[in-house]
């Protein structure tokens, strides 16, 4: 089973520590939701775990092999990364967009081999995009584009999927759909790490929540232990009420901490 391990990772930019001594070990089959206020270092953590940003100290390994020992193509085949609000810059067809996920396995010249084309069709079907395959990706709605980008990230069948705020700007239906897909991927054995702002969603679908604050791990554990008013107060500086029971718990924000209500 795939194991991703970060050991005492720090990232400094401009003299300031954006990530400070972060350690994390996660295995295939889990869905790790990374939460934290704006500027906590979530995006930096995800980029560093994906090998797209150098850490200043500490080490990151996939299956006990340091990231630095991977070639960029090997790494591209092992993990997928989706940034916040991914965009498509040319009006290429959706099928071509999804096929870009196969770039690390393609030769320098020539069109898609037949096996790849079948794989693209398979993934398009799995993400309910078959009827959109010929449409220009720039004309998709936000929910459809998110699905297309997830399809792009998964078409190469990576072991690890790292996604930065996949549900930002989506309506409730597409938000639920996206998070459930991520949870299903984790169930199928992949390691999914996603930055999520919606704590209720994270608690309901993730198998584990990692809370970051000021670049440090503020808390790390299974969702039912993480929905805690004291933790929310110290990490997000909000007063909140937790309702429901474990598995169906939800968070209700009341007021910023320190403000008279």
């Amino acid at each position: 089973m795939t194991t991703l391990e970060a050991l005492r990772v720090s990232v400094k930019r401009g003299g300031r520590a954006i990530l400070d001594d972060v350690s994390l070990r996660a295995e295939g089959g889990s869905f790790v939701a990374v939460i934290g206020p704006n500027g906590a270092g979530k995006s930096t953590l995800l980029m560093t775990l994906a090998g797209l940003m150098r850490s200043d100290s500490g080490s990151i390994t996939i299956n006990d092999r340091p990231l630095t020992a991977f070639s960029s193509l090997e790494l591209a085949r092992t993990r997928s990364y989706l940034p916040q609000n991914p965009r498509c810059e040319w009006p290429i067809p959706v099928a071509s967009l999804v096929a870009l996920g196969l770039t690390p396995t393609l030769p320098l010249f020539g069109d898609l081999p037949e096996a790849h084309r079948r794989r693209v069709a398979e993934v398009l079907a799995a993400f309910d995009l078959l009827d959109r395959s010929g449409q220009a990706a720039t004309t998709l709605s936000g929910g459809e584009l998110t699905r297309a980008m997830l399809a792009r990230a998964l078409v190469g069948d990576p072991d690890i999927l790292i996604v930065d705020e996949p549900v930002a700007g989506l309506d409730p239906r597409h938000t639920l759909d996206t998070v459930r897909r991520l949870a299903e991927l984790a169930k199928s054995g992949k390691l999914v790490i996603a930055a999520v702002h919606d704590l209720t969603l994270a608690a309901r679908y993730a198998t584990r929540i990692l809370a970051l604050n000021h670049g440090r791990v503020a808390a790390d554990g299974p969702p039912d232990r993480m929905l805690d008013t004291d933790l929310l107060r110290s990490v997000f500086q909000v007063e909140a009420r937790i309702g429901g029971v474990a598995g169906g718990a939800f968070v209700d924000y009341l007021a910023p901490t320190g403000e008279r209500s």
Binding site: L73, A76, E89, W90, I92, S96, L97, T103, P104, D111
Partner: protein, 329 residues
Amino acid sequence: MSRNALLTSVIFAVLCALAMVSLLAGRVWLNPSEVLRGLFFPGTQLPSLIVLQLRLPRAVLAILVGAALGLSGAVLQGLTRNPLAEPGLLGVSSGAALGAVIAIYFGLAAASSAIIPFLGLLGALAAVTLTFSLGGGRGTLALILAGAAVSALTSALISLALNLAPSPYAAYEIMTWLLGSLADRSWDHVVLAAPFILAGCALLFIAGRSLDALTLGEAQAESLGVDLTRLRAMTLIGTALAVGAATSVAGAIGFIGLVAPHLVRPFVGYQPRRVLVPAALAGAVLLLTADIATRLIHFGPEMKLGVFTSLLGTPFFFWLVLRLKGTSP
């Protein structure tokens, strides 16, 4: 046959037809049989000399230069994901022009006809090195701004050369050269420029797959294994070789690099890699057409090629800007 292959063959057929026309047309009109006899049974008769020594090298140069401009425009637009990008943007064209102007200014051109292309190429490489060291590795916007700064510097130095030109004749020669032309080019020019143009084009073609990945933005392209620093270096060097060599034999020729990719892009589904070959062919078609037109349109002296492409290209530029205003967020 795929749409892509169909488009490529259509443009290629047009290019071949135009190449034939360019052998026929000029001050002395030849008929096709004279041209064919000239091509396959070289002799010392006038038609044979005109075809082999004047028009064939001119047509070959037009195709090479046009292809270099069209291809590098397509690659730079893919790299920057900016539909207004073209070789002039990175300071390549003006760097090559400055090199050539230096050769003319100091009268070095009299020593050997190879000096102008040689210094032109050197100027292009120097400009690209400066652009890359200023803006490389810090994102595409930084690269574009660095290119604009380098262009401004080289333009200022060209103006300085014109300002301080030792004689009106030297100033006139610089001006004429800057206007761009393929008139009176010989096989020597082809031999000088072709290796660099072909090497540059080869470097640019290799970038295709990475340009496709860049459709997803720099972060995703990098996550797919694209080495962005290497890609930028490769495209800059490729552009410097291809456009530097092209500019140094033909002078400054604008807008081909801007227009050619736009003409073919909608027909190939906008995918950057698929634009490359058709854009190179379209660039060759455009320049060959423009070169034939300069021979046929007479207002007294022969109209310069660079002037002609700019006159036709500028309205297209306006149209692009107007269209962008409507579509971009």
